[in-house]
């Protein structure tokens, strides 16, 4: 499904709805350019998971962990060169550790993601597209059952933007 959000606040709201829909073991692969709003969306996901702290960029430390209704593991693969490297530093223990993993720059290590992964692509408006700078096209893909139940929740909460 695709959703258009108008600003960062909307992105956080959407993240919160996503966070509420997640179960232990959920993996979210986030893709999008620098400045697309991946960390912003994770701030919302954290809120939806009942995490009290506000996530910060994990670029430097690769992963931050937060306590919530379900633990949140917030990864950033910006500085990772491949699956071997990621696994050799022990990422699998967290990725498949029964918490929720939100992984930024997922496109760098596509092969680690299992079939139940939820993929979220965030697109900035193209220059000259006429769309306001802060709008984002957010594409969400995942298992059919999850997507359809998520769609109905999202349509109620963000009626104007879901498609």
């Amino acid at each position: 499904m695709e959703i258009q959000v108008t600003d960062a606040e909307d992105t956080i709201k959407l993240g919160e709805i996503i966070g509420k829909s997640l179960e232990p073991g959920s993996i979210i692969a986030l893709r999008g350019d620098l400045g697309a709003g991946k960390t912003v969306l994770v701030k919302g996901i954290a809120r939806g998971l009942g995490v009290e702290d506000e996530p910060v960029s994990p670029t430097f430390v690769i992963m931050n962990a937060y306590e919530g209704r379900i633990p949140l593991y917030h990864f950033d693969l910006y500085r990772i060169s491949g699956a071997d490297e990621l696994m050799s530093i022990g990422a699998d223990e967290f990725l498949f550790g029964g918490g929720v993993s939100a992984v930024e720059w997922a496109e760098r290590v596509e092969e680690i993601f299992p079939e139940y992964t939820i993929y979220i692509d965030i697109k900035m408006p193209g220059p000259g597209s006429g769309a306001a700078e802060n709008t984002r096209e957010i594409k969400i893909e995942g298992k059919k059952e999850w997507v359809s139940s998520f769609r109905s929740t999202a349509e109620q909460a963000l009626p104007a933007s879901t498609r």
Binding site: D53, M63, P71, R79, E85, I89, F94, P127
Partner: protein, 345 residues
């Protein structure tokens, strides 16, 4: 007191060791940088970083002892960074420090990397407590109220990206080399800092927190409109972008100093080497009659002398560590504390 402390630091890509005498004097300070190795990857690659630390750590410690003219038996305590940083990298220094402490029968002193950055100032100046300290680097942007040699209170931090990260990511989208802060600093010198008005996220006078994510995004927006800058335009972008960071850092630190009524401020960490931040901070704090101390560049970038300096102070307070302490990745290690989990990789 003439206590001798061995400091060890491996939190990121520098393998460092130093011998500190009396908490104030660095008898030696050895830093083996991996910057050239990581350059080709455009950033620190964690797995490479920890492997390199393993290869270098013993030689670096031996050199630190040799340069100081001291025997390892003369060391009275082993101070080591146990966080924040990359877990794999921290593990190397921490394991080595534990082995030295256990083997020599001397106390182990786990040290916070950010607090140590501020303690670097004691190696060059007499302390004026309390002071406000800004630690600004590739991974961190935090403000502390420092009340004593071992008393640090975190009063502000970044809500998203670190200032150094804002430099590194900007350099990447501008096609400049790693480390980005150095490249931008160099190009900015001949640019116009007022050419482009990038946003400053002050978020009001009630908070001492920072936000650099919006600045990064505004640069991305700018480059989508006006792609592929070079020559004078590239220099103007660098200069304007750097100005936004330097101004935000300086004004927030000044706000903190006024809020807590301190007469002295310390700015430390790798980004404290940025020439515009140094110049602007000097100018602003002079105007306000506040003493500004910035450690010399070799003590601003990651080093072990600062670890030894804080370690010595902690040892004097009896703040030693157990041999089973863990490394931690974030500046907020309270997550999962007590559950035996490590908050990071």
């Amino acid at each position: 007191m003439r206590d001798l402390i061995l400091g060890i630091e491996t939190s990121c890509d520098e393998t460092a060791a130093a011998v500190i005498e009396g908490g104030k004097k660095a008898l030696s300070s050895v830093v083996a940088s991996q910057a050239d190795i990581h350059k080709e990857y455009g950033g620190v690659v964690p797995e490479i970083a920890s492997r390199k630390h393993v290869e270098l750590i013993l030689a670096v410690i031996e050199k630190a002892l040799g340069d100081a003219g001291k025997d390892r038996e003369e060391i009275q305590g082993i101070a080591v960074t146990n966080g924040p940083g990359l877990i794999g990298s921290l593990m190397v220094g921490l394991s080595t420090a534990k082995a030295f402490a256990y083997g020599l029968g001397r106390p182990l002193i786990g040290v916070n990397h950010l607090e140590a950055h501020l303690s670097a100032v004691h190696l060059e100046h007499e302390a004026e407590f309390p002071f406000v300290g800004l630690v600004v680097s590739g991974g961190h942007t935090s403000i502390y109220l420092v009340k004593g040699y071992t008393e640090f209170e975190l009063i502000g931090k970044t809500r998203d990206d670190a200032a150094g990260e804002a430099f590194d990511k900007a350099a990447k989208v501008l096609g400049l080399e790693y480390p980005g802060g150095v490249a931008i600093d160099r190009l900015a010198r001949e640019g116009n800092p007022e050419a482009i008005r990038f946003p400053r996220a002050f978020m009001g006078a009630e908070t001492l927190d920072f936000s650099f994510s919006g600045l990064k995004t505004s640069l991305v927006y700018y480059l989508r409109k006006y792609p592929d800058p070079d020559g004078e335009r590239l220099r103007d972008i660098c200069s304007s972008y750097q100005e936004a960071i330097a101004e935000t850092l300086t004004e927030k630190t000044l706000l903190a100093a006024k809020k807590f009524g301190v007469g002295s401020v310390v700015i430390a960490g790798g980004v404290a080497c940025n020439s515009r931040l140094r110049a602007l901070a000097k100018e602003r704090f002079e105007e306000e009659g506040i003493t500004l101390r910035i450690p010399s560049p070799a003590l601003c970038t990651d080093n072990a002398a600062m670890i030894g300096a804080l370690g010595a102070a902690k040892l004097r307070q009896g703040e030693t560590s157990e041999l089973n302490i863990h490394p931690y990745s974030t500046s907020r290690p309270r997550y999962f504390r007590g559950r035996g989990m490590v908050s990071g990789l």
